[in-house]
Subunit: 290 residues, 6 copies
């Protein structure tokens, strides 16, 4: 109950009441207006928080508890409906402040385009940055039906911004021929279809480096994540995604920020996708934040 000012409403389970004392800042980016197929991810962050009350606080994978890391849930960034550019600007401003305050930004989407201003802001602080990207889709378009601000473009934008060689995509099973060609010709890493095995091969080369991780929940098979805009057969299991998170945890890379995007509750009839997303966030916080 909230007689004093410490109450925090619908926040991620066990989040810390004080921003200053926290090492991690969790925030939602409730935007889905450039989505071409099925919108709805704007409600993703709220539902992930809501179902997080079902989470255990202890990870038997990592032998750590949520109390071991102080994270502050800043709520959803209020974004103007239908205005993509302004939304991206607001996200970028928010993340810059979080980084300036020496904290680790952890975002929840929303469509994947929201990761673009975040990664740009992170790169401004860490100029040796590498991106680890889990997704069913390349997201390497330059535009979608004439529109450069599209959910199909964020990885292309960051790849051009920080250099394609610094971007590592895993689990990709959908995209245009031109996107795959561009990646190959420009030295960007793409592992088609698989995640865990190629990730384990790549991680040693990234040890010690500052890394941002962006996860589109549709890297999972539709069986595991029906609650997303674009489902695509042939994905990985939630078990493999957990193992991949744990592989990064033990790899020696320095994770300086991360996000999980594209959870769409309206397609998530048993709240399965929101539930497993909340567990992934727990494991990432416990595994990646020392």
């Amino acid at each position: 109950m909230r007689f004093d000012e410490t109450y925090s409403g619908n926040v991620f389970i066990k989040s810390h009441p004080n921003y200053e004392e926290s090492k991690v800042v969790l925030y939602g980016m409730p935007m889905d207006w450039t989505v071409s197929y099925r919108p709805g991810s704007r409600f993703g962050p709220a539902r992930i928080r809501e179902v997080s009350i079902g989470l255990e606080e202890y990870s038997p994978y990592l032998d750590r508890e949520l109390d071991d890391v102080k994270y502050f849930d800043a709520g959803d960034i209020p974004l103007p409906f239908g205005n993509a550019q302004k939304s991206l600007d607001l996200i970028e401003d928010f993340v810059k402040k979080v980084l300036a305050d020496g904290k680790i930004p952890v975002g929840m989407g929303g469509e994947h385009l929201v990761s673009w201003p975040v990664m740009k802001a992170v790169y401004e602080k860490y100029n040796d940055l590498a991106i680890i990207h889990f997704d069913a889709h390349t997201d390497l378009r330059t535009e979608y039906e004439g529109e450069p601000l599209s959910h199909s473009t964020p990885i292309r934008k960051i790849a051009e911004h920080i250099g394609p060689k610094n971007v590592y995509s895993f689990g990709i099973r959908s995209g245009m021929k031109e996107e795959f060609d561009w990646a190959r010709e420009n030295g960007m890493h793409i592992s088609k279809f698989e995640v865990l095995e190629p990730l384990k091969e790549v991680l040693p080369s990234l040890a010690g480096r500052n890394v941002y991780v962006t996860i589109d929940i549709d890297v999972l098979d539709p069986a595991h994540a029906p609650g997303t805009g674009t489902v695509d057969a042939g994905g990985i299991t939630s078990k493999e995604l957990l193992a991949s998170i744990h592989a990064i945890a033990g790899s020696g890379v320095n994770v300086v920020g991360f996000d999980l995007v594209e959870v769409a509750p309206v397609y998530d009839h048993s709240e399965m996708t929101a539930n497993i997303a909340s567990k992934f966030i727990r494991e990432m916080i416990l595994g990646w934040v020392k």
Copy 2:
């Protein structure tokens, strides 16, 4: 089956295969990108067509059959995701052509903003135009969170364009105080909460006049139309909406175009809303096109 060119795929039941010979042109406007609350109406036109196969061809209300009116289903106008202005331009161009060819435009939304370019085009042809508007919401905002192209604005736009005194809204039960004030101060007609009785009072004064009718499905109570973006308690029944359609049919007004918008299949779990929408379209075509 489609061995020849007469096949018409997922079209509204009994639609005529030939554009030139048809008096009515049915079309979808699959846009929902300025929606502030729950998107999804972009899939409305396709679902309405799909369930229309369950319709009887005969109206026992009007003693007419679908064969009595030739209507051509032009499919959905392809609209660029997230680009509201360009979408509106494409809709306007399409409707202008339909009108230039001497046909009656019948639109299916999509969010309500799509009615704005349609009404503008119709007004260009019929400069004595009056608008009959059924809706739960005033839709009289000048902008929404700074955005002038919003689903909350179409009636304001057309009211300013053709003069507020020519706009008649019925069933309104939601809006900002400023919107109701503006309507009252500018001589626009708003019937709060009720539809059929005030409509019957107004119709005699419109007899003989060219009228465009725009129906937001959320004028119905949520019990009758759960499959829409913004449900709002206290609406009318589908029986009252049918009676209102029939009242217009017998009133002597000259309906020169109409639309039905805001059906959102993802919230329409038993396809109830799409089914009743298809019946309303049948009754409007049979009742309003002589």
Copy 3:
């Protein structure tokens, strides 16, 4: 629990364990194979029984309790999938036995065609029989796409069998022009759109007569009965259907059998339709069986 043989599994609440001692026999007719639009009513009887556990045993409308009438739930008649003729024969045999044993048959569908053999059997016993029929649809076709055994035909069949003047339909709002014409030309009673008022006008003329009542749940508006194959806008409320049941209860007609058909659980997402159907059955048993 069932250590002895008195256990009755998924039966309608408070049904009596013994066939011989019961005055009423309740049974399911799980058939939907001639349905043209959306099948699924084969699971209707089982779901109505399941949710009947939520019913109160007392009717405040009639001031009677379920213990006041002994009714036996015979379960579903096992019907051969896809074989309409054989299914109808099995239903007819079953009902003939129930009637021969001096009991009142109360059927749950299943599609509406199942009422045809029941009414035929009842007529064989009561040759002054009148039919009261609540439905959205005329069901007066002679065939559907060449098939004489169709869910669109049962009322035509019984009307021709017992004479159209003995059939009274209420609430009809859908059908072919030919069907309405046939009814009018042959002296059959059809009340379009309305139920309670025209029923009250007709009932005095039926006082003292043997009557079978058949209710298609789609006489209700889709808002009240989404869980059915063919939803059709403009129907009555569940309140009006209750009032109509009570009107018959107080009219002096002698109800010799009745059914409730077309509940389809797969479209009934909150089990609303099955729940209200179970209440209608309670009211009919308590109101019509003296």
Copy 4:
């Protein structure tokens, strides 16, 4: 966003950030453990808050805006799963504090039993208290299957506590014969089936008196409120419930507290019930708090 301490997470739209300055205190009672049929109302308060973002802030019924009343959303009272007695004690303690601080308690359920400790606490402060009760069910049992703490008992408990003559129930259409008998024999007011008309008859006699209003959402017909534990055919419309709220607003009674209970999101597939509940709460706050 929440950089400072004023953020309030998932709270009812426009709720005031400060408890001391508020006149009304809104709180959730997420308990459903004595429910006999379909549980799930424990998640009701959270969903009502979540969908309240779709509400307009202005009431065209009352010509008032949410800014006109300061209400504080205290969140959900944390209740121990499965322990009914302790949960009721916690609720009573909370409400006593709210009342002691001179504020109006506005509760969201949860099952109906939660209203019992609230009404007891309110009666302690206002000993001329009358109860207005909207419900499909009598809730007048002394126990349910031997259990005195049951969702079927709260009105019996408060009626015995403050005297049956001070309790006015409306819309009742379900209960045991014994419950109706007890009410009649003890001078309690029960209006069967109807709400608005009998309420208008009763209200003049209550003018000037302190009144607590408790609304079980299942007083509405299942068509209007599918998202509840026990749906029961023959209820009122949301339009009639709005009119009833407005009738109380204009009656001169002094509403000293109220609640709305039994919203169960898991049966509320299009979030219809939560959406309309949030509108009822807006209208009650604007209409009843001067």
Copy 5:
């Protein structure tokens, strides 16, 4: 839009507008009337087409694009409700014409019985035909509850027609003992439970041969394909089905026709099954049609 005759309504993405110029003919067989458990697959083809708009046109598995193969979507074959024999005759006639025109038939079901007339027609043209069959069920019954036209019989029919040694079933995990016995005694190939590994063993022996492939979507585990009539634990993943499709693509067999059946949208709440089915069809067309 469809001002000219090239418009094709709800057709599979990128289908060619002209029948004569196409190498492949896609068609729907919307029949489910012999289904014993849960009907609904009649709406499968329409939904698969509808969601196909979410497909990428490029296959990163095969490095081919949909433009590389000309396929014509002929729509659904109109079938008479409830008349199994006539429906099968219409399907057979249609496929014979497609084959006579030198095109490859690609069917979408509907229940599995629809594959029987297709395979018969294909065998008439290719008398060395082998069948590759992916399914959870043997489908080797001679009849079901006395009915020889049943969804449990198509593989038995074709096996007896072309010789059991020419039929290869994979993934089978359900059936009567008699069915497994009959297969073994008659030299038919059945791989229980597994698909990919036994398929790889069989394919070399089929190289160069004309093969028809029939896929019942329930060969997938219920986790991957909830939207089907009969779900059965222990199935394969969509990843394994994709790999099996690709194994056939690289095997040297000559695929002369194929189908995908038993998608039932009403059980497919997030449209997952329809979405992955559309991807399988893309991969089969790109992989099997040279």
Copy 6:
């Protein structure tokens, strides 16, 4: 149909009509009142029985048919809502009688706490008893928020009762640190995350011993069992659970009773979870009862 007393209503497919002649007794325990997160499993047993009609009677895994084992379905034990202690007492009494009559108890939940009185009763008869436990959760709490009768405690209770060394848990991926510590310190077997491989290692040491097996359906991944209260990412497939059942079948242990708990139909939108649960029960009966 039920003219005689042999009819058994909604019972598990092929269950035997006579208690005395049966070797196995199947029963439901419809309790969910101590559930902390999402209730609903009280309806699990009824739905499992209902969908069991879709099961084949033959197991191709075990080459046995349901006719080979006589099992009696006793229906659901009637349990008092909200009263956990009394419910557990009733369950214990029932199971004691089943055991005293020399039969094998097979329970369907309901929440996991129902297994506690069953296991206690079984231990009373077989004092060398070992427990095999499949679950996502440790269930080793001593209490939950102060309540010792909680769904989080049954394994702790039985472990303390029969000695922790006699309890073998598999697939555990969620719990408090204290629970894992307690298990390790007290010699209880816990296999984290995996089931089949560690089970195969343990089984030889249990050969010849009396064993009770308790399966919480949430040991499966959410993709396989969405219809349960607490879904948790990273579980096993239904294929692995089948293989585990078969491993026990071939291990030489003597299974003296078993249960399957936590199926919650309200979250099981395509009835997938109930369907696969019915198959697991078939395989356990055919595999474990000689």
